[in-house]
């Protein structure tokens, strides 16, 4: 039982990373109806932003690892990734907005491949160790708490989960309570009607890309705090799994993406713990194929009728 809870906790840690990336997929799909293949690579760029700028932000707040320094690194990475996301959209996707979906999909694959390979050229292809932004240690659980004192919970796990929750609430606020969020929802509902109501679709789409990419950047930093080894291809696998998470939750649905991410993380952890680490990747794609056959709209999605 205690082992089961342990696996569950590990899964939630990884799952919150997937959830953050999945939100970007789902938001972009919501407004543009296409899958931004390059999203996983923005996540990678976030991790590398932390790799290069993390030590600098730490120095701003004194010597050695500190929470404020880590927080500053997180913010810097988010801003950088938001800018990158907006630039990618402006350069590569905007000129193709009225073209067939296949054209945009191919461009997105091109952007993804470009970021991966240019990343290998610029950052080097070998894995690098991420600087220590916080002092990671296992939290001590008092004996008096009974059975759960056997659990190992690390500071980074708590931090990752906490920051993810915080970001989710911020996102919820932005989407549901602000004018920009309302515009996003309107655009996702009907782009033509939205622009007739005076919404500047270009601005909203840029904002959506920025928001999604910022979350991916945050995920890049958070994952590197948990597993401090980063390489230019780290976005491929994480991006694919986050995509599966978005589909599992119902693509276009924000709570669905968060739920899907956590579920994928937990499923993965349980498979690794109880079956075999070999099937770690295969099981995720198995989930995708299963969901596409049984319920293509995802857990929380509603089916959308295609109009002629």
């Amino acid at each position: 039982m205690i082992e089961f809870i342990q696996q569950l906790l590990n899964g939630l840690g990884q799952g919150s990373i997937y959830a953050l990336i999945a939100l970007g997929y789902t938001m972009v799909f919501g407004v543009l109806r296409f899958i931004n293949f390059a999203h996983g690579d923005v996540f990678m760029l976030g991790a590398f932003a932390g790799f290069y700028l993390g030590p600098k932000t730490l120095r701003l707040f004194g010597e050695g690892p500190s929470y404020s320094g880590a927080f500053a690194a997180l913010v810097v990475a988010m801003v950088l990734c938001a800018v990158i996301g907006i630039v990618i959209e402006k350069l590569c996707y905007r000129p193709l907005r009225d073209r067939p979906k296949l054209t945009v999909l191919i461009t997105a694959i091109g952007v993804s491949l470009f970021l991966e390979n240019a990343g290998q050229l610029v950052f080097g292809a070998n894995p690098q160790s991420f600087p220590e932004l916080i002092v990671d240690r296992a939290l001590e659980i008092p004996e008096s708490w009974g059975a759960i004192s056997g659990l190992t919970i690390t500071v980074s796990q708590v931090l990752v989960f906490g920051v993810t929750l915080l970001l989710l609430f911020v996102l919820r606020y932005v989407v549901l309570k602000t004018k920009m969020g309302m515009a996003m929802r309107a655009l996702s509902f009907n782009p033509v009607a939205a622009s007739l109501m005076g919404i500047n679709n270009d601005v909203v789409i840029s904002f959506t890309f920025g928001l999604g990419s910022a979350l991916a950047g945050a995920a890049g930093i958070l994952t590197s705090i948990q597993q401090p080894s980063i390489d230019p291809l780290m976005g491929v696998n994480a991006g694919l799994k986050a995509f599966v998470a978005a589909v599992l939750g119902g693509i276009g649905n924000l709570p669905g993406a968060a739920l899907g991410g956590l579920l994928i993380g937990v499923i993965e952890a349980l498979v690794v713990g109880y079956v075999s680490p070999t099937y770690r990747d295969a099981i995720v794609f198995g989930v995708l194929i299963l969901i596409l056959i049984v319920k293509p709209t995802g857990l929380l999605g509603v089916s959308e009728r295609e109009k002629v």
């Binding site: 461009t107 091109g110 952007v111 240019a118 194929i289």
Partner: protein, 326 residues
């Protein structure tokens, strides 16, 4: 009875049979590139059936190539040498094994295609990519097939004749199919799926058919590759190999078989050319690195093509002028 295209096919095959007698004179390096061109033509023309004519997007073609390569190698390793001296000669076993590999890949295509082709293009891209990764993962663990060590020991049966004969047959089948009722079905699915369905076309059937056929040809290409290199490894059939094939199709023009053949030829030679360029010492360091890593160029090529010339380098001769791919 004797249509022009059939006569043309037979004439081409005879020419290749004749030419293959002189293939021994080519240096091994150029022979390697030549066979590579033939194999890539089979792969790209096959994939064009799915990504070009039917308007779907498969991103895991190398996975089917892997199935074909491993299946045919397993067959020749198992039956090739015991039967070779007896009832069947080794060439017959080789061709049967190739067809077996193709059928195995087609079966894999059927299993993957039936669930995923009910969905729209984006999903198919991801599912096929996933299948590519899964098949690689499974092969890396499959002990009887050599797992991480790769599989070797096949005899070199692939020669000039077989490679280009199968390339010619692939082109023949694809061109004839596209001109037939089925081909109209493919194009209808590509141009407007909803309208096609309204006209009574079973869109899923056509999509699956295109997918299975493409997988079959990929399996044949895999078998040829395995019996040329005499050694195969799961990493040789990874995602990047799939991207290679997709770039050939897009560069040549989706739905343009002639263009795809040219693009497959060009893109097989290009890496060799780039390798030569990367040795020029007067070039700046970073440019030589870019030349070494062809994927950077391929990715830029994809983006620029889509932005400026989505119909591919050679345009779209076969498709309708008002097709959605413009």
């Amino acid at each position: 009875m004797f249509e022009r295209s059939k006569i043309l096919l037979v004439a081409t095959l005879l020419t290749f049979a004749g030419l293959s007698h002189f293939a021994g004179g080519i240096s091994p390096y150029y022979f390697d590139i030549l066979i590579g061109i033939g194999i890539n033509i089979i792969l790209a023309v096959g994939l064009n059936l799915v990504n070009g004519y039917t308007g779907q997007f498969s991103l895991g073609h190398a996975g089917f190539m892997a199935v074909g390569a491993y299946a045919s190698s397993w067959l020749t390793l198992k039956y090739g040498y015991s039967m070779g001296s007896g009832t069947l000669n080794t060439t017959t076993v080789f061709v049967l094994a190739l067809l077996g590999g193709g059928l195995g890949a087609a079966l894999a295509g059927l299993i993957v295609g039936v669930p995923s082709l009910r969905l729209k293009g984006d999903y198919l891209a991801i599912v096929t990519l996933g299948v590519n990764e899964i098949s690689k993962g499974v092969l890396q663990k499959a002990e009887p097939l050599g797992a991480q060590r790769g599989l070797g020991g096949m005899e070199q049966h692939t020669n000039f004749f077989w490679t280009f004969a199968f390339a010619a047959i692939t082109i023949y089948v694809v061109l004839n199919l596209v001109g037939s009722t089925y081909g109209r079905g493919f194009l209808a699915v590509r141009d407007d799926e909803i309208a096609a369905e309204a006209m009574g076309i079973n869109t899923t059937k056509y999509k699956v058919l295109a997918f299975v056929l493409a997988a079959f040809f990929a399996g044949i290409a895999g078998g040829l590759y395995a019996h040329f290199k005499q050694f195969i490894h799961p990493e040789g059939f990874n995602f990047l190999r799939s991207v290679d094939i997709v770039v050939m199709v897009i560069l040549g023009g989706m739905g343009n078989t002639a263009g795809v053949v040219v693009a497959a030829t060009l893109l097989t030679i290009l890496p060799e050319f780039l390798r030569a360029v990367s040795r020029y010492e007067w070039l700046p360091e970073w440019l030589r690195h870019v030349a070494e890593n062809r994927m950077i160029l391929y990715s830029l090529l994809l983006i620029v093509l889509m932005l400026t010339r989505p119909q591919g380098l050679f345009g779209n001769f076969t498709g309708k002028r008002n097709s959605k791919l413009q």
